[in-house]
Symmetry: C2
Subunit: 324 residues, 2 copies
């Protein structure tokens, strides 16, 4: 049975990672509040180390290892932010990190892994190629695999963002996190419901990759039908572990159109004056399109990250690959 | 004799505007610190109401008016942020605002004025056309002119950003603000030197519009030789009043190349994950190019604003009009 962290584990993670990650600010915008008709509190994990919340989970996993395990290093596969996060955490502990990435990953994400000292192994962008490459590196190094989300310590770390948000704004009616593999949403929902049982926890995902919403309905892990979404961090499917957390704690999952995601991303740059990646704009897109209708409520939103390719912002191009 | 505010006036401004403007956060970045070799503290006025520090000065001016003067409204000329700021402040007080703008102003700046309820009068982009239009509106309405920088109340308001920064980070060795007309730099330098006499106050301006540096050397208000800089907020010349403040309080003015400004702007988006307008990136550009060499020091930087045209970021185009 796959285990999940509880509030005590999330609090322990918070104490463990505090010297290594940032306590990110919470921003508000009266013009966005007026647009949505709700009071919004944005927890800015785009300001986090490596530019995304993933630093929290990876750091908790790396600093939970025994010295014996740690010295053989860590390995993961990741389209980007988790790879950079694991490289960052490993560097903080002084151990090696190997990151298996698809050879079509964005340049900014490759650079981010390498800048933090990770060793990148490129593979073809298929599950089989990725698993073969991981197995090969694991066998030759004895490194510990740190899964991007199907890991109790990673989920506990991701939950620390919601912990901080609720410490600062205790009287939220609802909290929203984007959902890909479900690590962030699981940690967020577990922390929020434990601290404030009356809060609603919602997920937000692209309509083009609505596997989490379908999984919540069917009760089993559903595959992604297509991966043609600009929100590249959310193309992943749930695991049994994260599905179980979502079934227990999550009220609903909103779906956002591709146009809505781009519009929400642009509004975030224009109104909040912060750089957000497409995945991080999905909760606001769901509020704009009312697939999450939280008008009149006090709503916390986890802005998951800010690693974007500034040479090509999505409203500046027509890329047929990202259209429905 | 043109008068300048003292610390007491800046403190009074702070109390007056507090209900109407934001206390903006101070952000840091270990990767930018490493790049520059100094410890940098960014006071994020891009998060301020209307997206720029100008909300502070305009609000102080508007709320300093007598009820009799206030009811006839306010007027100003501005290429953008000050106009939006005056419209915002007037709306907070419930009085009309007329904003005279050049007909080549960026769309984002026109929208910003109108969104805050200001009435825009477009004129040709010459000093004569602007003054004629201002005089006409003043005569027909009895509105009070609020100059963008040559005004004691405006300078006092702009100084409140430095006041807050030094409250939060008291042990700065230096503070840098961009300089156009000199309102922000005057207020910043007066506040900083009064609170901490050993601090150095520095200005930062484009090498292509180096009139403030030349004025500080010659002791009189020098004209701008050319206005071909991307930092459109800094094309203005000093007034006798702001020159006098700079001569008393400012140690030096760094000059930034156009390439340096674009590079610093991009680094700010990439590393700090915040949206900054070109003028707001000029201090970092001076540090990058070492026309301000503050290595090993603790340096406060006023990020002046974040109103940019997101359809055309400067590294995405070759615009011959902005090249040296």
């Amino acid at each position: 049975m796959a285990t999940l962290p509880d509030l005590a584990a999330i609090r322990a993670a918070h104490a463990r990672i505090r010297p290594h990650v940032l306590r990110t600010p919470v921003l508000t915008s009266s013009s966005l509040d007026a647009e949505i008709g709700a009071r919004l509190f944005f927890k800015c994990e785009n300001f986090q180390k490596i530019g995304a919340f993933k630093a929290r989970g990876a750091t908790n996993a790396v600093f939970s290892l025994t010295d014996d395990d740690a010295k053989r290093g860590v390995i993961t596969h990741s389209s980007g932010n988790h790879g950079a996060a694991l490289a960052y955490a490993a560097a903080r502990r002084g151990i090696p990190a190997w990151i298996v990435m698809p050879d079509n990953a964005a340049q900014v994400k490759l650079d981010n892994v390498r800048r933090h000292g990770g060793t990148v192994h490129l593979c073809r962008p298929t599950v089989a190629a990725r698993e073969a490459m991981c197995a090969e590196v694991e066998a030759s190094t004895g490194a510990t695999l740190v899964h991007p989300f199907d890991d109790e310590r990673v989920i506990a770390g991701q939950g620390t963002a919601a912990l901080e948000l609720l410490e600062e704004i205790p009287d939220l009616d609802a909290i929203i996190a984007p959902v890909g593999g479900g690590g962030l949403l699981s940690g967020t929902a577990i922390a929020a419901k434990a601290l404030r049982p009356e809060i609603e926890a919602h997920g937000a995902e692209p309509a083009n990759a609505d596997d989490a919403a379908r999984s919540l309905r069917s009760g089993r892990v559903e595959p992604v039908a297509s991966t043609t979404t600009i929100a590249d961090g959310l193309r992943t499917v749930l695991s049994q572990r994260t599905l179980s957390a979502l079934r227990t704690h999550v009220t609903s999952i909103g779906l956002a159109s591709e146009e809505g995601i781009v519009r929400a991303m642009r509004m975030t740059l224009e109104r909040l004056k912060i750089v957000v990646e497409p995945s991080g704009a999905v909760p606001l897109a769901c509020l704009l399109e009312r697939t999450l209708d939280l008008r009149g409520r006090r709503v916390g939103i986890i802005i998951s990250g800010g690693n974007v390719d500034l040479d090509r912002l999505p409203w500046q191009q027509q890329d047929p690959g990202t259209k429905p």
